[in-house]
Amino acid sequence: MTSEDKISKFRATYDALTAEIGKVIVGQKTIVDGTVNALFANGHVLLEGVPGLGKTLLVRTLSQVLDLSFNRIQFTPDLMPADVIGTNMVHETSDGKRAFEFQHGPIFSHLILADEINRATPKTQSAMLEAMQEGSVTAGGKIRKLDSPFFVLATQNPIDQEGTYPLPEAQLDRFFYKLLVGYPSADELSEVIARTTEENQVQVNKVVDGHALSELQLMVKQVPVASHVKDYAIRLVLASHPNTESALEITNKFLRFGSSPRGAQSLLLGAKVRALTEGRFNVSFDDIHAVALPALRHRLIVNFEAEAEGITTDHILDKILSEVPRDSKASNT
């Protein structure tokens, strides 16, 4: 299969995925696109939104359209790492001897729904770190490889913060995108009500299997990026680093820490996927611009002053995007 064929297949798969998800999820196009984008970029997604906006439904639908194994982990304060990863259990063998046998936790699946991830203790949350970054877990002194593709979709509730544990920076940084799920519009809400209160069963079809998905993920990495576009992504990330040469005024004022290099990786990978979905064979500034917010918003850490003034990372990123020039050389030509 030539690259052109692969690209065609990619677009077809992408369109089919969004179409199938659209059968269940009403509206939320940005969230759906972001989630599918991260899926093709082989990245994990953190979905944040108030209860009832369809976060869990989205993930469940995704698990239905993907021909992949799916597990849901409901994070609670008493959830232990072993409950996620698995543990060695004493097992009586057929010959009557007792031996330790590793009992696989729910993480051993292609698609994981980490529901309300911020309700678990940091200890349990940290159990996800290795899995999300390395695609493996270490239990009982043994590294166990997770199935590929491995895709974590976590949700968290921004309200009702009592008894929750905000995700540590290291954990957050491992998410490819952080998507903010907003309220549906009136039409969308009407459609949601219609679908959920009337008797009509929606059947979604499997669109892609794990192998095909892995191939498409590999193809994404081949999309060429011009040096000045790459430079723009780097300059965006550098502009978020406070007290540096490239820092903007707002960065110095409201940020404690800027984006990690994973932010730049996410920017470029997300942009590549977007370029392909737009029918192009190269990454543009618009692609970078479009994925900047979901890719970077959870990687910036605001200071007290920003919190006091209600400045969010989205505000800061908007400012960075407006002030960092896309291509200064082209403007001067």
């Binding site: 060429p224 990026v225 543009s284 291509d327």
Partner: protein
């Protein structure tokens, strides 16, 4: 054409077009800058005394800057990569072109992807036309430029603000420049016309010329200019003093000896005798007598030509009268020593009634008389000239006729050297030398040399006398040169005085020149040559033109006084005055007895009041009523309406 070539071709065309566009824009930008600078300089010029040369430099800048912009735009290089990025941005190609250019330049990538990217970029760039992408339009800046140019144009009509000190300074500078120019030109002309005989004179005149040149540089203020003029005037005066009597006490002759070639006394005498010989016995008479005869002859001739032949034939008495008149005229001429044969012929022709011959002879006689008048005039002029130059050495020296005196001395030397003279001639020469001693004292050692010559001649030592006379002649020549230089210096001094007057009074050099008076007090420029006073009006004749004392001007005769005396009629004497007359104060109440006219009026009161109001209004309008009383008068007559 491959996709790579297509892209490269388009980029090249776009780069070329971009270059043209950039130079076009830079030229307008340069023009904008220049117009701004021009406006600023114009405003500055209107407010402050900015030198006008600034406009030359700004004008030069206005030419250079747009041209530089144009050239800079053309010389700027646009690499394909930059142009690709620019086109991506302009046409929103989503970085297709720039990515393709990078890949074409050899960035390592999957070949299949390279083909895809190049194809995509080629299809995108194919539709792009550089000319439509980069049009050459007038930039919006040109409207602003036009606006500023209009402002500049309007500003051109706004008068400049200059303070009084600056204006004074400018006027002084202009005057000094004018004075310098005139001074330099005059001195240069003077040096050319009268080459100085002494080095000192030349140095002094050069310094005057240099001062004029220095004045024209415009770096000297009024006080310094006056000081320099004064200094150099002093220097010239001291130079003139150094020449001694030749420069100061001797009055130069009317005809400058240094300039005009003066005819020697002997030549003039020879010419006089020749003319007298031509005139014959009548040479002793003045031209006015001959003119009198000529005018009478002309009158008779006119009368004769007025008559026709018939009349002349018929009027016997008239012919006899004319014959008598001509005979009388002939007698008068003979008394004066004139021979007029044509007049005699005319009388004979008249007697014989040969009118044609008569008229012809009359014409010839008139011509003869005209010639005689001319000769007589010449003799008189020559005699006057000889009288002016002096008849002997004494007079010549006294009158400052040095060239003539030199000629006289030459004649004496020749006479002495030739030894061809009688005792009487020698005695005459000794007497002439003796008489010349006193006036010669003004000419340095000339008197001494003449005295020596006289003594030597008396002693019969002709060669010694000749040498002494030659020494006197040399002394005179030296004096002549000194006089010439002295006159040059005086001329320069006069120019300096005029310059001082011009600078001191802030007036132009030409206005310091007195009309009718030039150097040495002679008639000068501006009023013609007054050498012949006959053609000018005498002072009496001139004063007659403006003297109107004989005219009667009753319209201008004074009428202010009357013979009524100081007594005021009783009717106009105030009987009672309440209050005081003060400006701005209340009108006092004045009661007059008034003129009592008894009888009945034939004018209605309304008409009388209306007339009085009209008169009062006129008086008010013509400011005949003092300001202090205007309101009261107006109120009074307004009240009469009621």
């Amino acid at each position: 054409m491959s996709q790579k070539q297509l892209i490269a071709c388009k980029l090249k065309a776009a780069a070329r077009r971009r270059k043209i566009q950039l130079s076009w824009q830079c030229m307008w930008m340069g023009l904008w800058i220049c117009v701004c600078i021009w406006l600023l300089s114009l405003i500055s010029y209107k407010l402050f005394p900015v030198p006008t040369i600034t406009f030359f430099w700004v004008g030069l800048l206005s030419f250079i800057v747009p041209l530089s912009g144009l050239i800079w735009g053309f010389t700027k290089k646009f690499p394909p990569k930059d142009i690709a990025r620019w086109i991506d941005q302009e046409k929103n190609l989503k970085e297709r072109l720039s990515t393709a250019v990078e890949l074409a330049e050899g960035k390592p990538i999957n070949p299949e992807w390279e083909v895809l990217v190049l194809r995509d970029a080629a299809s995108a760039v194919q539709k792009i036309e550089p000319k439509s992408l980069l049009p050459l339009r007038l930039p919006s800046l040109c409207y602003r430029i036009l606006l500023l140019l209009i402002v500049c144009f309007v500003l051109g009509f706004v008068p400049e603000y200059r303070n009084k000190n600056y204006l004074d300074q400018q006027r002084d500078t202009a005057v000094i420049d004018d004075v310098g120019s005139n001074l330099e030109n005059l001195t240069r002309w003077q040096l050319k016309q009268n080459r100085p005989n002494f080095e000192q004179t030349k140095t002094s005149l050069d310094s005057v010329r240099d001062l004029g040149a220095e004045f024209q540089k415009g770096k000297i203020v009024r006080e310094d200019a006056l000081a320099k003029l004064s200094d150099i005037s002093e220097k010239l005066r001291s130079e003139i003093k150094k020449f001694g009597p030749a420069g100061s006490s001797i009055k130069p002759s009317a005809n400058s000896p240094a300039r005009l070639p003066v005819e020697s006394q002997a030549n003039m005498k020879n010419r006089l005798s020749e003319l007298a010989e031509r005139l014959g016995a009548a040479s002793g008479n003045g031209p006015e007598k001959f003119e009198d005869i000529k005018s009478k002859l002309d009158a008779i001739k006119n009368t004769a030509s007025d008559f026709s032949n018939n009349k002349l034939n018929e009027g016997k008495q008239s012919r006899l009268d004319m014959t008598q008149s001509l005979t009388n005229l002939s007698n008068m001429a003979q008394k004066l020593g004139l021979e007029l044969p044509n007049l005699e012929k005319a009388i004979e022709a008249l007697n014989s009634s040969n009118i044609d011959q008569f008229l012809k002879s009359m014409e010839l006689a008139s011509q003869d008389l005209e010639e005689i008048v001319g000769l007589s005039q010449k003799i008189q002029n020559l005699q006057m000239e000889i009288a002016e130059t002096g008849k002997d050495l004494s007079e010549q020296l006294e009158k400052g006729q040095i060239p003539t005196a030199l000629g006289t001395l030459d004649a004496m030397i020749n006479q002495l050297e030739s030894d061809q003279f009688s005792d009487q001639q020698l005695q005459d020469m000794i007497d002439e030398l003796k008489q010349a001693l006193s006036p010669a004292e003004n000419y340095g050692e000339c008197a001494q040399r003449l005295a020596e010559a006289k003594e030597a001649a008396r002693a019969g030592n002709n060669s010694s006398a000749s040498q002494s006379l030659a020494a006197a002649k040399e002394e005179l020549k030296k004096m002549l040169n000194q006089m010439a230089d002295s006159q040059s210096l005086m001329q320069a001094l006069q120019n300096l005085d005029r310059a001082q007057m011009a600078v001191g009074n802030s007036q132009s050099f030409s206005t310091t020149h007195r009309p009718g008076v030039s150097a040495n007090g002679k008639p000068g420029g501006g009023v013609g040559n007054w050498a012949n006073d006959n053609y000018q009006l005498s002072p009496d004749q001139l004063s007659a033109r403006w003297d109107n004392s004989g005219f009667q001007r009753p319209d201008t005769s004074p009428r202010g006084l009357s013979d009524r005396g100081n007594r005021v009629p009783d009717n106009f004497t105030p009987t009672r005055i309440k209050g005081q007359i003060n400006p701005k104060g209340q009108m006092p109440s004045i009661s007059l007895r008034g003129v009592s006219i008894k009888g009945s009026s034939r004018v209605e009161l309304k008409a009388a009041v209306s007339a009085a109001q009209s008169d009062a209004l006129n008086a008010l309008n013509q400011d005949k009523v003092p300001n202090a009383y205007r309101d009261s008068v107006r109120d009074y007559f307004d009240d009469l309406k009621n």
